[in-house]
Amino acid sequence: MGENSESAMQGKNFYESGGTRKGILSWIFTTDHKRIGMLYLASLFIFFTAGASFGLLMRLELIAPGKTIVTASTYNSFFTLHGVIMIFLFIIPGIPVSLGNFFLPLQIGARDVAFPRINLFSWWLYMTGGILALLSLFTGDGPPDTGWTFYAPYSIRTGTNVSLAVFAAFILGFSSILTGLNFVTTVHRLRAPGMSWFRMPLFVWSLYATAWVQVLATPILGITLLLIIIERFFGVGFFDPSKGGDPILYQHLFWIYSHPAVYIMIVPAMGVVTEIIPVFARRTVFGYKAIAFSSLGIAAVGFFVWGHHMFTSGISDTSKAIFSLLTFLVAIPSGIKVFNWVASLYRGSIKVDTPLLFVISFVFLFCIGGLTGLINGTLATNIHIHGTHFIVAHFHYVMFGGTAFAFFAGLHYWFPKMCGRMYSEARAKTAWFFLFIGFNILYFPMFIVGWQGMPRRYYDYLPMFHTLNLISTIGSWILAAGLILMFVNLIRSITKGEKAGSNPWKGTTLEWTVPSPPPAENFDEIPVVTHGPYTYE
């Protein structure tokens, strides 16, 4: 059935049917998961831009040794705010709240998530947290300068505006918990008839695994951050050695959440990648169950590896060895996924469109990020590279080269469904080229300077690191050009792009069976599912 006759029958898409409220109110008080997804997408874009600006300023400061544009303390605020914004406001909520909100109900054949009002509430919490985080820049006695980890006892003693930033992160954690429990309940309760667990698209599996991590790990962060605030206001002394407290205990509590959080960031990205590969290889995914279970496996093992952030903090050798071993275990489910992706491409009729370009660069960059992770996880090498730019390069390869590239892949893949129009393919490919090249020029030199011993979180460095830092800063400009081109192309195409039709990529999951953009209630009639998600002849 053509898109036009369908939409004529349905009447309006979800942009046109805002319920009883008008204008902006029909957005900020909506309970439609698609509108909330778009709200999140717009908010993520704003915070990503802020975070990226701090990143670019940091690179600019590091273009030459010595003080270039800012003082040491301003630089400390830059990397703190860059970290807080990128981690708590962009990459942790990232894919689940935007693409997940929009497509989870569509992919399982539901009209909405299980708790639409809680979904809206979590967006409000997210915005509150975001605004408080930005406010901490301009209020109090200067922006926070502790780094995003808020390590005690410095975070308890510094005079800067740490309390507000910590409170912002606490609120964001609450928002994350609500999204998590919403998604878990949605997947359990609202699957369409016939949508058995092993007929769910793998993006849904990855969101499901992520949602469990959000529910089970975030509360620990909540209490840890709350304790920081209590310490700052009442001086209880839990993490203060002068009162008998133990700062290492803070690190434990912090990483008990913040390492699983790494998998909150990467697992949904893997889901996006798994969703895109079969569509552009015209072939069913290789090893469906292995991919589904490896998502759960990564989520589960991720809870027991936090100690690898603390190899140089003074924990016992026995626990170091155990944490190191468990860290290596993460490589197994990750490896399973990479092999399955490659095997899914093998002998497919591959069509290299923008989403697949981003996906393939994801696999490439994720492999570099993942394998250097093993170097970090090895006790002997960890001592050499701990706290250097090697670590910075490693987690940017995983988080930016991995998660953000997959996010961009998903944005391009689902853009026609979300907006009903197609972006310019030529511009998108150019933007991808700039991003991929710029990314590697920006971050690869950091592996080398890090290995040579350049520490992270300093505004200055020895002259011997100058050349590679200069190259890295130039890379940041190429990357920025790619980002601008990509966003301009996408934003322009919202109104100016060609009409896309309901299924431009010939995808086989349920979201492609409804018009683009989908109507407010998603499905005229809830579909009955009779087969798995990726069936190609």
């Binding site: 429990l181 359990h188 209490i223 209880v236 002394g237 839990f238 008998g244």
Partner: protein, 207 residues
Amino acid sequence: MTEETLHKTAEVHRDYTGSKMGMWLFLFTEMLLFGGMFILYAVYRFKHPEEFHTSAQDLDTTIGAINTLILLTSSLTMALSILALQKGKKRLSLVFQVLTILMGAAFLGNKSLEWGAKFHHGMYPNSAYLLTKSSGEILFYGLYFVMTGIHGLHVLIGIGVLLFMVLFTMRGSIDSTNFVKLENSGLYWHFVDIVWVYLFPLFYLIT
């Protein structure tokens, strides 16, 4: 179907099991939130067993025991209020709900008397008097104030939630056919109660 009717069907859509599941997941997160503090307690008690032992002797076991009794009884009235509503006895349910709220308030009242007495003796976090004590004692009282404080905050939130339930019951928006909100509030109340069941022995009875 027109858009209005579609919205209406979406609104009356009720999923009893789904609501309960969401609440249980939320309680898991609450459990983990307190779990973080129980870890702190475990580590510091392991480090300073004797000081925890002697510090606990200064807490008033009688008030603690009375508070335990009050909270346990309030869990009973909470459960009875749900049962009454399920059987369609709206007035009786309201009586039990109000009783539960009153007992919650009595608990907080007792707690504030207890805290007040400690403050009166100069015993509060970061006080000059407390800082002259050993680090084990500082940590014991730190944990005592923070854990019972955050627990008290939960009781306060529970009272707030129950006040809404009283309002909903009076308005008739929850009744014998639609009582999942009251049940979920009950689950929350029992949870807060259970946390106290652990806090009481860990602080008052370890002497």
